[in-house]
């Protein structure tokens, strides 16, 4: 990679950060888009902080370090809140804000209709509040809301209708947000016929197309089956069909969490490292691969399911393995871009260049550490994807160990790091409590290293996930590596550090929010240097969204057409399982809960 530099347009990359002169931040250029982005980030960060508090309650409870906050039967309300608030609302409100910023910045035009944008934000927020109300109602016996069905809400467990209605409203809000970005693009296209789609907009559009295709699954599940079931309009559902529809959506949503991180790693991280993106065309290839391969893989979450033929699992497994390709390519491009930046900053040597990177810049440090942890998460994901070895880890603590590296660090830490860079630009305020921000990524990284390694090892011993008290009277788990008490301690300590990391982040954002505007120059600006290898080198077919959407739909039809047909052919509601409302313990089963 030593000769990865070339001499074209280096001056753009060298623009020093502190000489912005008169402040012309994003908020001054595009006030409407900045407002929507701020609103989305506000909801996102609130969800993060609440989710983090729920997280530490769980970590201490299930490891039996401290069980004084909740009873074990309330653990599942906490777990539902943790999953939904973090996996759906923290991440996707952030995405909504970041993509509004990215389309606006890269197309160079403010929102088409600010009231419409406010509308989709309001719908998302209203839906999210309804869902949260249904979940947290579970703590209060007098309130008839119950929704401790976890983030996957598998039927025939049944939550209060408010939970499903809120999810549906929120989902429609995300669809309208996508419409907003597409409309901005089409307006731009009208004025710029023949030009290449700006990279950030390209990433937004491929991601939202993937979202439109994949959310069909969960929309049908919620609107056709679960909401009518919870309202008593239908009397039963087919649990395998609804579960399959969930995972039709449930894997692409993983990439919906990850794409904002990739978006930041490709377009912003190279600048923070002091360089430029290595290759624009490869970035486009990667996003196209995610669009076409993200959905026809959902059966890899159902390797252990009866009622699904092995062949369909095999197709999903193969697609999943090929989905590694865009991530491998990303690893190359991101590291190469960082090395290029480091060498421009005077770094040298095979590995010595890393010392020249700006590790004290919280935006850089957060993204780089998140990327590093994503590599580890990728490898544990390969184990999950291998459909035979998966039997050893399916539904064990290995799985949350894995996804706390991916969504819990690759996505979450990158989003926090991006906020350190972007929040000042959408508010016009300098980042406050900079010292907190500087240590925060390291606190998160260490906390996650402790928690995740122990979760992986506990999973190998067979310790189940999603369980309030994974300590049983009948037997004890035998650890192959380390000891169970040591793992519990690491999980609890790691969880505590992660909560501290979330609180530090919250403090920085809150202090910045309350800081005065317009005092002093910003440390950061929105200028992004040109890639070393630009889009003009790449075939134009890459920008053909219609073609890629059609390919994606065809692959989905191949992977899902026959299995879903066979599940529906015996009657869409058969085998008919009656609902089991959560929060009601059936004493007829003879089970008495303490």
């Amino acid at each position: 990679m030593a000769h990865a530099h070339d001499d074209r347009t280096t001056d753009a990359a060298e623009q020093p950060e502190l000489t912005t002169g008169e402040r012309l931040a994003f908020v001054d250029q595009y006030p409407s888009a900045a407002r929507i982005t701020r609103l989305c980030f506000g909801v996102s960060f609130t969800a993060l902080l609440i989710g983090a508090v729920l997280g530490i309650i769980q970590a201490l409870h299930r490891t039996n370090v401290f069980r004084g906050v909740i009873s074990s039967s309330d653990y599942y309300s906490v777990l539902t809140g943790h999953g939904v608030l973090l996996a759906l609302f923290f991440t996707i409100f952030f995405l909504s804000g970041a993509f509004t910023w990215g389309t606006t910045r890269s197309l160079g035009r403010d929102l088409v209709d600010p009231r419409f944008s406010l509308g989709w934000f309001g719908l998302q927020l209203g839906g999210a509040v309804a869902v949260a109300t249904a979940i947290f109602g579970g703590f209060v016996g007098e309130i008839p809301f119950e929704a401790d069905v976890l983030y996957t809400f598998y039927a025939p467990l049944q939550a209060h209708p408010l939970f499903y209605a809120g999810l549906a409203a929120w989902l429609v809000g995300t669809w309208l947000a996508g419409f907003d970005w597409i409309r901005s693009y089409l307006r731009w296209r009208g004025d710029n016929a023949g030009e290449r789609v700006p990279l950030q907009t390209f990433m937004v559009l491929t991601t939202i197309l993937m979202w439109y295709i994949s959310t069909i699954g969960v929309a049908v599940e919620v609107l056709v089956f679960l909401l009518p079931l919870s309202l008593g309009l239908i009397e039963s559902v087919d649990p395998l069909l609804t579960r399959t529809l969930f995972w039709f959506f449930g894997h692409p949503v993983v990439y919906f969490w990850l794409m904002p991180a990739y978006f930041a790693w490709y377009t912003i991280l190279p600048k923070l490292a002091g360089g430029r993106l290595f290759s624009d065309p490869l970035a486009r290839v990667v996003f196209v691969l995610f669009l076409i391969l993200s959905t026809p893989v959902g059966f890899h979450h159902q390797y252990a399911d009866p009622g699904v033929a092995e062949g369909f699992k095999f197709v999903a497994m193969t697609n999943t393995m090929f989905l590694l390709l865009p991530s491998f390519l990303t690893a190359f491009t991101v590291v190469a871009s960082m090395e290029y930046g480091a060498r421009k900053r005077g770094g040298s040597g095979y590995f010595g260049w890393m010392k020249a990177l700006p590790w004290a810049n919280p935006a850089f440090a957060g993204m780089a550490l998140a990327g590093l942890m994503f590599a580890a998460g990728g490898f544990s994901g390969i184990v999950n994807a291998g459909m035979n070895i998966n039997s050893l880890v399916h539904n064990t603590l290995w799985v949350p160990g894995h996804f706390h590296l991916t969504v819990g660090t690759a996505s979450a830490l990158t989003m926090m790091a991006l906020s350190y860079w972007l929040y000042p630009q959408i508010t016009g305020k300098r980042l406050q409590l900079y010292g907190f921000a500087q240590v925060q990524p390291y606190v998160w990284f260490i906390g996650m290293a402790l928690m995740s390694n122990a979760m992986h090892r506990a999973g190998l011993a067979g310790v189940p996930r999603r369980t309030a008290e994974p300590q049983y009277d009948q037997f004890t788990f035998e650890a192959a590596l380390g000891s169970i008490p040591e793992m519990r301690l690491q999980i609890a300590a790691g969880g505590a550090l992660l909560t501290l990391g979330a609180v530090l982040f919250g403090a920085v954002m809150l202090a910045t929010w309350f800081a005065d505007r317009g005092r002093g120059r910003l440390r950061v600006d929105s200028h992004l240097p040109e890639p070393i290898s630009g889009p003009e080198d790449s075939p134009r077919v890459l920008d053909n969204f219609k073609l890629w959407a059609v390919v994606a739909v065809v692959l989905v039809a191949i992977a899902y057409g026959f299995p879903i047909f066979s599940m529906v052919a015996d009657g869409p509601l058969d085998p008919a399982a009656p609902p089991v409302p959560v929060g009601v313990v059936d004493t007829a089963l003879g089970v008495v809960l303490g």
Partner: protein
């Protein structure tokens, strides 16, 4: 389109790794004979599985050949039947096929520390076959959330020496 030489090398290496991974799984399925849980178990009644043709009253049964046993397990909130109230007992040096169903919501059937790990989905029957060599006691865990008492849902599987396995008393006919 210009792709840097190092990136091309990386791309080919990544593709090679992917093909290798798919190859190992294929090898496991085709050559090593690892059988996935699949659709062969057929469907059962969603609330009364024992009433279905493909399921029997829960318990241990003689298999199709000597040394083979069929274990019919019903999962329900918050117990394995058999497994929780009384342990599942099978002899050592045996091949055991587990037939696992659910009578209410989703459950997991995991023999802790082994690769016997399947979902129990109302309306479907999961079939998993395993070999047990040595006498040993294993823990049974429900590893899919099934309600407020989920953490109490566990049991035991006892692999006992053949000499102490009383087939007439412990095997149903």
């Amino acid at each position: 389109m210009h792709v840097h030489r190092f990136e091309r090398i990386w791309l080919v290496a990544a593709l090679g790794m992917i093909v290798l991974f798919v190859g190992t799984v294929t090898y496991g399925a085709v050559v090593a004979g690892y059988g996935m849980v699949n659709a062969e178990g057929g469907q059962v009644d969603t609330t009364d599985p024992a009433a279905s043709e493909s399921f029997r009253d829960p318990g241990v049964y003689n298999g199709s050949e000597p040394g083979h046993y069929d274990v019919y397990v019903e999962t329900r909130r918050f117990a394995f039947v058999p497994g929780t109230g009384e342990p599942i007992r099978v002899p050592a040096d045996s091949t055991v096929t587990f037939h696992v169903v659910s009578a209410d919501v989703l459950h997991g059937f995991e023999v802790a520390g082994t690769n016997i790990n399947t979902m129990a989905i109302p309306g479907q029957k999961a079939v998993v076959t395993a070999e047990f060599d040595e006498p040993r006691e294993y823990g049974l865990v429900c590893n899919e959330y099934c309600g407020e008492g989920h953490h109490t849902m566990a049991g035991t599987l006892e692999v006992v020496p053949q000499s102490s396995f009383n087939a007439t008393a412990e095997v149903q006919s």
